[in-house]
Each structure stands twice: as C-alpha cells, then as structure tokens.
Homo-oligomer: 145 residues x 2
Amino acid sequence: MSKQMREAAAAANAQAIARLRAAGLRPTRQRLELARHLFTGPDRHVTAENLHGEVVGAGIKVSLATVYNTLHQFTGAGLLRQVVVDAARGYFDTNTGDHQHFFLEDEGTLIDIPGDAIAVSGVPQPPSGLRIDRVDVVVRVTREN
Amino acid sequence: MSKQMREAAAAANAQAIARLRAAGLRPTRQRLELARHLFTGPDRHVTAENLHGEVVGAGIKVSLATVYNTLHQFTGAGLLRQVVVDAARGYFDTNTGDHQHFFLEDEGTLIDIPGDAIAVSGVPQPPSGLRIDRVDVVVRVTREN
DNA sequence: CTGTCATAATAGAATTATTCTAAACTGATT
DNA sequence: AATCAGTTTAGAATAATTCTATTATGACAG
C-alpha cells in the first residue's frame, strides 16, 4: 500500500468517525466496518442478512443482531432510508379498482385515495425484458404533534 | 324476517355462489361466510387476523389457515387486492435523497428512480390532525409474458 | 496509563405473521 | 348412496426480526 493510499484510507476513516459522532453514535469497530461497506462506492440497497453475509464473508466479526441494530441506528441518523416493498402484515382491500392509499402509521390503518384524484407521472421505461405490473403509492401520515 | 328480506338474502347468496364458481372456487360454507363479511357493505381493508377475529366473533367456525387461504384465493380471483405498507424484509437504501423505486418482483431487487424524473400529483389533504410523512412510490415490474 | 462507567455487541431465546403438512371432511357428480 | 378431487383444519415449521441478559469495549477522569 502506497503512502497516498494509506492517507486516503485514513481520511475516509476519519470522515466516517466524524459522521458517526455527529449522529451520537460511538464509532465502534463494527459500526465503522459496516459504514465502510455501505458507503464506499455507489449507492446500494441491502437487507440485514445480505449485509451481514457480505461483511462476515470479508472476514469481519459482527453478529446479525448488531447489523440489525446498526442499520436502524443509521436510519435514525438519516444515513440510510428504509424501503418498503413486501408485506409483513397482509392488508387486503375489497376495492380492486384503480386507487392508492393513505397509511396511518400510528394506527396501522388504511384510507383509500381515489384513482382519479392522484396521478404518478414520469415513470421511466423499466429495464428491458420487464413490464410494469403496477404502480403503488403509499402516502404515510402521522399525528401532527 | 320478512319474505322480502329472505328473498334479498337468497339472491345475495346466489350471487356470491356464482362469483366463486366463476373463479373456479367451490362455494363452501367458509368461503361464502367470508365473502359475505368482506363484500357486504362498503369497501374495507382487512388483515387475516382481524377478519378471522370478526367472523369467529360472529359465531362462525373457520380456522385462521382457511382465512389465509381464502384471502389469497380471492386475491387470485381478482376479488381482492393486497396492499403493501409494512416491511416483511427490511431493505435499506444508502441513497437518502428524494427518489423512488422499481421493485423487480421475480428477483427481489430494487432499482432507483431519480426523484426529478417521477412525480406524484393530486395527493388529497390528509385527514385532519395528520401530516404527510412521506410519499412512497413502488413500481412493481415482472418478466414480460 | 489504569479504573470506571455508560454504551455497545453478542448468543440465543422469543415473537410475529405466515405458510406448510398431513389427516379428516365435504360438495359435486356418478 | 359411493366416489373422489377439492377443502378445511390443527398444529408444526419457517423466516425475519426483536428482545434479553450477559459480556465486552470505548471514552474520559484521575
């Protein structure tokens, strides 16, 4: 490793430490390793299991529980965002027509948004060989303090 | 019960039977009861557990497994639609900026849609006392044919 | 440096919603 | 009325995640 590379790595590390500190998170070995894997290179989408597999595969000792904790802490700190695409709890809707939903996060209830009220525009062409099955919009609402 | 009411109930039942038959589902006692609960009255959103609680509370003998089976069969038949609002598997995204996603259902992978490409318009005012936390768009894509 | 203490990491148990399995039952058809 | 594929069911199994109780570690004081 050249002096230049060492310096770059050290700088990246210092930056990661600062980022964690700013979020009120102690820059532990595990959190730094996970941050390095997550934030080095282009944007990515990970699940707890696959990130855990990846870092363990890279020879790093971290438990799955810590990966879960860390992902949530990073999300709380605004370093990550959670994407919801599959259902933990199946909600079934008797309205099968074109419409979308408000989701009241505090109560776990749904309210319909008529399909003729709401519109999604600018959906790009899907990757070739794939067709759009449907477009789901969830408007998440919470109590106004 | 008046003759008129008896006739109306019989007609509703006959219609439910026809609807199930058309979907290739045998109109069993359980399926008819569940259909009655689901499709009588205004549109609604149910989970397997709460529908089960409701029908059992009404004195009907159905197992939870049957409720799950039936909800899926009705969904397959186009009588219901599933709404996804909470995460069975947590996907975390390193891109925290404004953007949405393609979800490749066959593979379980995500592709970003830039926030400046896609737009959602016509979101109604949320119910009073609630504020919009965020608007999530998931464009579900599957293999062609 | 070293001790102290709050914070963090961990293994394994527990939880939650759901699906599976294998056996018993039922509705439609002969 | 007998048959039999389609259904229902209880309970076991699964999958992802969270909890719990214990051990370890980083930061700071002295």
